[in-house]
């Protein structure tokens, strides 16, 4: 059969404003694609809604449990830092430099570029809302005061970064920057 015959055979008698229609068979691959998608859809629905398929919630809880174990491990690793360790860091110029960088990137928006206080309190004076011991400051920085708008930095910074920024804060104590915010909290002296 020539192509012409084939076309003639498949041509319908429909005509609309000069448009004619063939009536070729549905392409097999197309039909199979359609059937396959229907079978997949039905199977998917049955498995996930009515059988053992894990729901989004179950999936999430499983992932969350794994994450919690990792986080607990990490927390136990970094929990042990003493006041003396932190004080020692204050003498290391490399630590102060690293701490300053973190401070400028993360803290300056709220505490001012010189730590003079802005949205958050002045960090260069001797008054502290949450304790002026370096270990206490490290605590404040790690856990934040979320209800007062001080973000927790534990999830964002590594323990090393937190320690160096604490060292940096200690290094600017008494620097008396201009426009400093009035003191808040209790006096603390080492």
């Amino acid at each position: 059969m020539t192509q012409k015959d084939d076309e003639q055979k498949n041509l319908t008698d429909h005509e609309y404003d000069g448009i004619r229609e063939y009536d070729y068979q549905l392409p097999t691959w197309w039909l199979n694609l359609f059937y396959a998608s229907i079978v997949f859809a039905a199977g998917y629905f049955i498995w996930y809604q009515w059988m053992d398929g894990r729901s989004i919630q179950e999936e999430y809880q499983a992932e969350k449990a794994k994450l919690d174990i990792i986080l607990a491990n990490e927390a136990s690793k970094s929990a042990t830092v003493s006041e003396a360790d932190l004080l020692a860091l204050v003498k290391e110029p490399a630590q102060i430099k690293a701490g300053k960088e973190v401070f400028q990137n993360r803290c300056a928006v709220c505490h001012g570029a010189q730590g003079q206080g802005l949205i958050g309190p002045n960090l260069t004076d001797e008054y502290w809302l949450h304790g002026g011991k370096l270990a206490q400051i490290a605590q404040t920085v790690t856990n934040g005061i979320p209800e007062k708008g001080m973000p927790p930095w534990g999830p964002l910074l590594t323990p090393q970064q937190i320690h160096s920024v604490v060292a940096y804060i200690r290094s600017i104590r008494g620097s008396n920057p201009p426009n400093a915010k009035a003191a808040q909290g209790e006096l603390y002296k080492e």
């Binding site: 068979q25 998917y44 729901s55 919630q57 990792i70 964002l156």
Partner: protein, 715 residues
């Protein structure tokens, strides 16, 4: 009746081509404006300075101008042009009423003008592609009914026994769009330009995305398939490939499409069974969508040699190919695990533009190049320019789509990256933004290329029309009158019979879309325990409500989501996932669909008031590389305290548990709260006259977001 066949009478009549010309003009004018707005907002994302600090051209207000303009003004007018041209010829009759055609035309243009004025002014419902406030939404319903009436009456007076596949698609379009638009825009007015939807939270989200997805289906897909079925065989001068493929893909497309809406809500607080339905119906859509592409491309068998030279056929081939690509990509993005990466990113923007630029744009261009010389009884001014348009448009589309794929996938992967110690690799959201800003420039270039192609077409069409003969005799058509059908005349095959009974056809196609609608929406809309109401969660305070309306007005939802998904990377970044109870008082819901900025569902209490005060003034003050616009007018404009009582009344009538006392004293309550917030700020150096400014209401709202969850009121 028993008239003898041979005594058939002939009618002489002419087609109303003037209405087609009008719609072609409108398509070209609005197309230019909508695309220009698109290029402009794309540039604003690349460079925030282009927001210029002016309220009415800021990103959040202009994006709806672009989206609504492109969908309803450009594509809408193109569809009407094609429908009026083709249906008269396919039905061998003039339109039922020229007057109604004109009411339709001018009504539609007025609606567009009203939209173009009100959206920049911030009058918006705050639901994507349904932003137009109630008077305009109502006008759309009226004009649509007029169009539908004229359309069905024209079918009734046809001189062609059977209706062609293009008409099937038009029928499905007209009925479904009416259903979608009416159900999604039921809202209670507060004032001339403000209303609240009757649905809230999860319900609103479900109805909105049932609408939003099917706006894509029944405004950008089915009518364009109808146009393709008329103009492609005409342009190619070839018979349509397969009648039975038309039947199978038409019915399967119409039946399946309507279910797929919830794929926009995967991993949200929508009940999972509805999400699963959205996903599986999307998968089942691949073949029905491709049916249209195959039928189009195979119609070109025997005309492929002409594709190389004729720009019209090039546009058709590329348009159909982009359609095939987009309708494969869409279902893939509906697979839950792929959605987890792609949702909220620019991948979705790339996906949409593959469809709109590639499919809707190119089919429209093909149609316009084919129509204009015929309507004006002349020849196209320049084939060469049309070819140039094609290549520039093609390159523009590819540039756009590829840059957005890259941006979307890059950002999606950055958001979820977690290192071995359980920390986010990119904890700063802004890092994931600065990484893709270069691609925003590339995208803007892609859009600009596409727009240049369009301008080339405008010039070409302008010259073509200028060349046209001024006086043209109207063409008189002769066609036999249609006799009362006998069963014999309708044909033997069931579907052929149905094609002779358009009323029944319309009913059946309505049933096809009603099934999915009913099964998905009724549980949400009717059942009160679909979302458990938690008595501990209080409605918004009057000031927070006012702040929320400012959030809606400024289109913050176009850059920010308020829906944390149950994925651990999101828990680390934002906190625990969003619960359905958290949005029971949200009218409209503001879950969002795009995270150009971070999710805000848990932003309450994250920062002090002063942080927000400075951030909204200039985001760069607190986040140096931010691309968020500045909002200086929020510091100048005063809070409208007087409207609050009315707002609370409307909310109360919708079932929000405000006490009578709260409604009565709404304004006082708001004043008190504003005073509290402002005094805190003033103590920190903010100007003393801030208390009655919009920014205070907005801060009140932002600080409420997620606060109930953080207080432990929601488990």
């Amino acid at each position: 009746m028993n008239q003898p066949e041979k005594a058939q009478e002939f009618d002489s009549f002419s087609y109303d081509d003037d209405i087609v010309k009008k719609f072609v003009h409108a398509t070209l004018i609005w197309g230019f404006i909508a695309m220009l707005a698109g290029v402009f907002i794309a540039s604003q994302l690349a460079n925030w300075r282009l927001n210029l600090g002016l309220p009415w051209i800021t990103f959040g207000r202009l994006r709806p101008v672009h989206t609504n303009g492109a969908i309803f003004a450009f594509a809408g007018n193109a569809v009407f042009a094609g429908v009026y041209y083709s249906m008269q010829r396919l039905l061998k009759t003039r339109m039922y009423s020229d007057l109604l055609s004109r009411v339709h035309f001018w009504g539609w243009q007025l609606i567009i003008v009203a939209a173009a004025i009100t959206l920049p002014l911030g009058y918006t419902v705050g639901k994507e592609y349904a932003e137009l406030e109630w008077p305009i939404a109502f006008a759309i319903n009226v004009i649509w009914v007029i169009f539908a009436f004229n359309f069905f009456k024209t079918i009734q007076i046809r001189r062609e026994r059977h209706i062609y596949v293009a008409i099937w698609f038009y029928i499905a379009t007209i009925l479904t769009t009416a259903l979608l638009h009416v159900l999604n825009t039921i809202q209670i007015p507060v004032s001339m330009w403000k209303s609240y939807p009757i649905y809230s939270g999860v319900q609103d989200a479900l109805v909105q995305w049932w609408y939003g997805h099917n706006a894509v289906a029944f405004v950008l897909t089915t009518p364009f398939l109808g146009l393709m079925y008329y103009f492609l065989p005409k342009a190619a001068d070839r018979p349509v490939y397969s009648y039975r493929l038309s039947i199978v893909h038409f019915w399967s497309l119409v039946f399946i499409y309507i279910w797929a809406g919830p794929h926009h809500l995967l991993y949200t607080a929508l009940p999972e069974w509805a999400q699963t339905l959205g996903m599986i119906f999307s998968i089942m859509l691949i073949a029905p969508s491709w049916g249209g592409m195959i039928n189009g491309l195979l119609t070109l068998r025997g005309a492929w040699n002409r594709v190389r030279t004729e720009p019209i056929l090039k546009f058709f081939v590329a348009g159909l190919t982009f359609y095939g690509m987009a309708t494969l990509e869409g279902p893939l993005l509906s697979i839950k695990s792929i959605s987890a990466v792609g949702h909220y990113t620019d991948w979705i923007i790339g996906h949409v533009h593959g469809g709109t630029l590639g499919w809707n744009g190119f089919i429209t261009f093909a149609m316009v190049y084919w129509l204009v010389p015929r309507l004006w009884n002349t020849k196209l001014y320049s084939e060469k320019l049309a070819n140039l348009h094609f290549w520039v448009g093609f390159l523009g589309t590819l540039t756009y789509v590829i840059s957005m794929w890259t941006a979307g996938i890059t950002q999606g992967l950055m958001w979820r990256a977690i290192d071995a110690s359980g920390k986010l690799v990119y904890p700063d959201f802004i890092e994931t933004v600065t990484r893709i800003v270069p691609l925003y420039y590339v995208r803007a270039v892609g859009g600009a290329l596409y727009l240049s192609g369009f301008v080339i077409m405008l010039y070409n069409i302008y010259r073509t029309i200028a060349l046209a003969p001024k006086e043209v005799e109207p063409v008189v058509v002769r066609a036999p009158k249609l006799l009362e059908p006998t069963f014999e005349m309708l044909g033997r095959k069931p579907h052929r019979i149905l094609e002779g009974l358009p009323g029944l056809f319309a009913v059946l196609s309505f049933v096809a879309v009603a099934v999915g609608t009913f099964i998905e929406l009724t549980p949400a809309v009717l059942s009160s325990d679909y979302v458990a109401v938690n008595p501990a969660v209080k409605p918004y305070s009057p000031l927070q409500l006012q702040g929320r309306d400012i959030y809606v007005r400024e289109g913050c939802y176009l850059c920010h989501s308020q829906m944390v998904r149950p994925l651990i990377s999101e828990t680390l970044r934002y906190g625990s996932y969003s619960r359905a109870e958290e949005s029971v008082y949200d009218r409209p819901f503001q879950w969002g669909s795009k995270r150009t900025g971070p999710d805000l569902a848990r932003v309450g209490g994250k920062y002090p008031d002063l942080w927000h005060y400075r951030h909204m003034m200039d985001p760069r003050d607190v986040t140096p590389d931010s691309i968020m616009p500045i909002y200086p007018w929020l510091y100048r404009d005063k809070i409208d305290f007087d409207v609050l009582k009315k707002k609370l009344q409307v909310m109360k009538s919708l079932g929000v548990p405000y006490t009578d006392d709260e409604v009565e004293h709404a304004s006082d309550l708001a004043h008190e709260e504003a005073h509290r917030i402002a005094s805190g700020l003033v103590a920190q150096g903010v100007p003393a006259d801030t208390e009655d400014k919009d920014i205070i209401a907005l801060i009140a709202y932002l600080q409420r977001l997620g606060a109930d969850f953080k207080k432990g009121l929601i488990q």
